[in-house]
């Protein structure tokens, strides 16, 4: 077998790294968890350092750390932004496993915390293209309708572009919205939107923090080409019962949490529901009564500390959007549409020994769409969806102070239900099912974080992935010209392989520390994606379908090369970075113009396959601490797609190509009671396809007037050759802490969205004007200046 150079490099590094670590001296391991002293929540990313040296580590996603220090070490120090640092005397502790409880600083300091990272992480870690945000910060940002939103918030980060105001879709370094892996406590979220994309499914009360990886993806992540959005949910207070919530303009939230057994276990239950339907009721005309739309979601988490070595987490999410429609002209016609995600996760943390930590998860995940249509004598219902069963195990081996090795496996069984249609029209019955599809997805990985010496550190790894589409399945043959079955078919029995794609994904990150405050980093990432979203729009819509790779649909593939210069200023108060990336993509999928994606037995025939390319420069400046903090980011980028069947085979701008993208976020703590945020975003207009000619068709003559009748049909030439006007807006928000006692806390958040009332383009349409005998263009824009208020409370 011929191995490509990138694989050889990874293997050689692993061998060399393993050999070299024997030469170091005798050490001891300090390990344990870091948590909040008030509510017992574990702290992710807290720093644990040997007080007498610069050697340190950070807590992982479960708050666990393991630090290898010389046996004569006396003290370690634990710190976390927004908390008082704590020094632990090693000699006095029994070293069985530490439970370090950090005390939060007073509120006015905590309020301005922008993240929870180690202060010099920006320079020292091998990570690049990664941003984190706390749940608390998320809630203080300016929002639409008083509803804090994870997916809106991350689009303020450089390199992440919004799909628009009515979309929770986001675009990372030229990738599509389906190329982002969205995880909620390790469960994949297939449709992250409520309200047709206006809001996301994440309830901010239940969110502990978010992490976005847009490049340099370590080997423990995979499955999507462009990015990882990791949303961690809160565990619940294991010390006291607490209630919190918020009342916004369109929805309210309520969260209850508390100990099941004090200090040992906790629960958190958080719900949210819109009341658009209730608020709109008085304004709906009588003939439209009975129509309603609402969504709700429910988060549940149970957390058990079973001992020094074991912790168990059970978490779940259940969310639904429900739309009821009754025809105003025919009350017998009733239309009901619903969609939503359900997830359940069982996680088990186990500490085998101070150096070996594991997490094993079983995840169930379902996305479903249901649609019932009734009309007097008949009716039908449509069901579609996707169900995943996932088992994964991740091990972290703190092998040595210079090596941290991660390895693990991930197995998912997918069941795709593209559509089941049943019902009747009069005496005619309709029963049709698009063949279900079944697939196994496997991943096996290892990575090594290796601090080679004072200057060099590496994070290299290899992820072996495989996708196996299996029977039972009947593969019908279709005539490509007519779209009709040609009579031929192939039958696959249960478990029989239909398509099998084994692939290797090498990952490589390197950091060269120039000095204490600056470094150069480089990364190489290769990723494959086996699931694809069937959509013709830029945003995710409830009717969109996830489809697996098959004999015809090859896995999407991307390589990403990135290099960056990172520098901290003024004792790590300011972070700066400049990153350049180059990302070619293969087997990109588009649909033929006018493709019918709904209930189509031959969806593959509607697809076309091509290539993509994205490259750009991202500049970032962030002030992390102080009363006045925030960030400014600028991206210059270019993203193209090339399909033989589109644009005469010539490359064209991707719809969300943005030459310039600028974002500014400023936070200022005005006083103990008042805090403020200011946001400004600017982006080059989206590329769009406009007609360049038109023709009249479906001709007729009105015999009463003698007037000719026809419709105009638009004709298109170049794809995405027109640019919409630029998108920009400024928002401001003020948070007023109205009451803060030991038992009760309440605050108001006042936001003004789009303060200078910019008409940002949503879409353009054309209308013929008979009076002037011309065609006129109109631009639709969504949100003008929009004030909102939200009340939050905790007791």
């Amino acid at each position: 077998m011929h191995l490509k150079p990138q694989y050889i490099i990874v293997i050689l590094l692993f061998i060399y790294g393993g050999l070299t670590h024997e030469i170091y001296g005798q050490n001891i391991s300090i390990y344990g968890y870091v948590q909040d002293s008030i509510n017992g929540e574990t702290l992710i990313g807290a720093t644990v350092k040997n007080k007498e040296s610069t050697v340190g580590t950070v807590t992982n996603n479960y708050g666990y750390f393991s630090l290898s220090v010389p046996s004569n070490t006396l003290q370690i120090i634990c710190s976390y932004v927004g908390y008082q640092s704590k020094t632990i005397d090693i000699k006095k502790s029994k070293l069985k496993g530490l439970q370090i409880a950090l005390v939060p600083q007073n509120r006015e300091v905590k309020e301005v915390v922008i993240n929870s990272e180690r202060l010099d992480k920006n320079v020292r870690s091998t990570e690049m293209s990664r941003i984190e945000m706390s749940g608390e910060k998320l809630k203080s940002l300016p929002v639409i309708f008083g509803e804090p939103d994870v997916l809106k918030a991350i689009t303020l980060m450089p390199g992440i572009k919004s799909g628009g105001e009515a979309s929770t879709g986001f675009y990372v370094r030229g990738g599509g919205p389906d190329q982002n892996l969205i995880l909620m406590d390790e469960a994949v979220v297939y449709n992250p939107s409520h309200l047709f994309g206006f809001l996301s499914v994440f309830n901010s009360d239940a969110v502990k923090g978010i992490e976005v990886i847009k490049g340099g993806m370590p080997a423990n992540y995979g499955g999507r080409l462009s990015s990882i959005l990791n949303v961690s949910m809160r565990e619940g207070n294991n010390q006291n019962f607490k209630y919190s919530g918020g009342i916004g303009l369109i929805s309210s939230r309520l969260t209850a949490e508390g100990p099941i057994e004090k200090g040992k276990s906790s629960f958190l239950i958080s719900g949210r529901r819109t009341y658009i339907d209730v608020l709109a009721k008085p304004f709906i005309p009588e003939d439209l009564s009975g129509n309603s739309y609402y969504f709700y979601d429910l988060n549940l988490k149970l957390n058990f500390i079973l001992g020094q070595k074991d912790r168990l987490f059970v978490s779940g999410y259940f969310g639904r959007d429900i739309l009821d429609f009754k025809s105003p002209t025919n009350r017998a016609v009733n239309f009901n549409l619903g969609w939503g995600n359900s997830t359940a996760t069982l996680r088990w943390n186990h500490v085998f020994n101070p150096k070996l930590f594991s997490n094993t998860s079983v995840v169930f995940n379902r996305y479903e769409l249901f649609n019932d249509f009734k009309f007097g004598s008949g009716g039908f219902s449509v069901r579609s969806g996707l169900v995943d069963w996932n088992l994964k195990s991740d091990f972290t081996w703190f092998a040595h102070e210079k090596h941290m090795v991660k390895y693990g496996f991930n197995y998912t069984f997918h069941t795709f239900t593209p559509g089941i249609l049943s019902g009747n029209v009069g005496r005619t019955s309709i029963n049709e099912e698009i063949n279900k599809q079944f697939a196994h997805e496997y991943a096996l990985y290892f990575l090594d974080e290796w601090n080679v010496n004072q200057r060099w550190s590496l994070n290299y790894g290899l992820r072996a992935v495989a996708f196996q589409l299996v029977g039972p399945y009947t593969q019908q043959n279709f005539d490509n010209n007519t779209g009709l079955p040609d009579g031929g078919s192939k039958q696959y029995t249960a478990g029989q392989t239909i398509a099998f794609y084994p692939r290797l994904e090498p990952r490589f990150n390197a950091n060269y520390l120039i000095n204490e405050v600056s470094s150069i980093k480089a990364s190489y990432t290769q990723t494959y994606q086996f699931l694809h979203l069937a959509t013709t729009s830029g945003a995710q819509f409830p009717l969109d379908l996830w489809v697996p790779s098959s004999r015809l649909i090859k896995p999407q593939m991307a390589r990403q090369y990135a290099i960056g210069y990172f520098r901290n200023l003024k004792q790590n108060t300011y972070e700066t970075s400049a990153e350049i990336y180059y990302k070619p993509m293969r087997n990109q999928i588009e649909f033929k113009p006018g493709a019918n994606l709904f209930f189509n037995q031959n969806l593959e025939n509607e697809m076309i396959f091509g290539e993509g390319l994205s490259y750009g420069l991202e500049l970032f400046l962030r002030k992390k601490e102080g009363k006045f903090n925030g960030w400014v980011g600028y991206t210059w980028s270019r993203t193209t797609r090339q399909f033989d069947e589109l644009n005469n085979g010539k490359a064209y701008f991707y719809r969300y190509d943005r030459t310039h993208d600028f974002s500014l976020l400023l936070s200022y703590q005005i006083s103990k009671k008042w805090a403020s945020n200011f946001v400004f975003v600017y982006g080059t207009g989206n590329a769009t396809t406009l007609p360049d000619s038109r023709y009249a068709y479906r001709f007729g003559i009105d015999p009463q007037t003698g007037e000719p009748l026809f419709v105009f049909v638009d004709r298109y030439s170049d794809v995405n050759s027109y640019r919409m006007p630029a998108y920009h807006r400024a928002d401001v928000s003020f948070t007023y802490l109205s009451k803060q006692t030991k038992k009760f806390e309440s605050s108001w958040n006042f936001s003004i969205y789009n303060i200078y009332n910019r008409a940002n383009p949503y879409f353009i349409y054309f209308l013929p004007d008979v009076q002037t005998q011309t065609v006129k263009a109109y631009m639709v824009y969504l949100f003008p200046i929009l004030p909102s208020v939200q009340w939050n409370f905790k007791f």
Binding site: L195, F325, G538, L543, P691, S717, Y762, F763
Partner: protein
């Protein structure tokens, strides 16, 4: 199915309309290359639907909302025969379509002698003075018979909503349909464009059993409804199906759609219709 999507789209647009605003903007699009457009229709039932309309594309912002008609072309339709696997077109069965009413409605080519026959193939030939030509073939499928047609009133009998239900037998063969509805005055020469509601569908969901159809948008008491149910060939269906998407294009989730023409040398279609026509007056006898 389509109706479901339309319903979702309508509700979604309703939602958007509650929060959206619009303004007129100026857009410059480059000049386009002119292309010929043909709309040719033949059937076995009525001469009113036998015509060829020739026009051309216009620059998008061209200050004209009229048909950009092409006059003076030589237009022929030839009836053929299927012998075994071969289709033979004999020149003796060739009919010339002439733009008789060119001064009033330019670009419309008619033939008073032409009658279509079910289960026959046809060839279209168009020759322009500048040397360009258009060719295409079609087939008039066997028409369907509407087996039943019922209507009812909701909620009262007078000045109220009327719904109707009809069905016909969809056979075991693959069938494609165009259905056009028109209420009111019966036209003499109207063309398909005089219809008020248009439907294009195939039998992929309901095959070889009674095919139902009923209206969701009501008519009024005393309305006269003319129903034109036509069977069409597959490539003609693909054209009209793509036309439906192209003509209704627009909005934020729209993608540019090009029609799937079944002629060469122009955009458009040559469609043979196996036509059935029924009329009904919505009132109690």
């Amino acid at each position: 199915m389509t109706r479901q999507i339309i319903n979702i789209g309508v509700l979604w647009l309703l939602l958007i309309s509650l929060v959206s605003c619009e303004k007129k903007i100026k857009i410059n699009v480059p000049m386009s290359k002119e292309e010929l457009v043909v709309e040719a229709s033949i059937n076995q039932l009525s001469i009113n639907f036998n015509y060829v309309i020739l026009s051309k594309t216009l620059d998008y912002f061209n200050p004209s909302l009229n048909l950009a008609a092409v006059s003076g072309a030589e237009v022929y339709i030839t009836e053929g025969d299927i012998i075994g696997v071969d289709t033979i077109f004999d020149i003796v069965n060739r009919f010339q379509f002439i733009d008789y009413v060119d001064t009033i409605f330019p670009g419309i080519y008619l033939s008073p002698d032409f009658r279509g026959t079910a289960n026959k193939p046809y060839k279209l030939e168009v020759f322009l003075k500048d040397g360009r030509s258009i060719t295409g073939t079609t087939f008039i499928p066997k028409p369907k018979t509407i087996d039943s047609l019922n209507f009812w009133f909701e909620p009262t009998e007078k000045d109220t909503n009327v719904f109707f239900y009809m069905n016909w037998m969809d056979g075991p063969e693959q069938d494609n349909y165009r259905l056009t509805l028109r209420n009111g005055f019966i036209p003499i020469l109207t063309g398909w464009g005089y219809g008020s509601r248009f439907y294009t569908f195939d039998d992929s969901q309901i095959n070889n059993q009674p095919r139902p159809f009923f209206n969701f948008s009501p008519y009024k008491y005393n309305d006269t409804l003319h129903i034109y149910l036509a069977t069409i060939g597959r490539k003609e269906f693909l054209f009209w199906d793509s036309f439906r998407s192209a003509a209704g294009n627009g909005g934020p989730f729209a993608t540019p759609v090009s029609v799937k023409s079944n002629v060469t040398g122009a955009i458009g279609s040559f469609t043979g219709y196996g036509l059935t026509q029924r009329s009904v007056i919505f009132r109690k006898e």
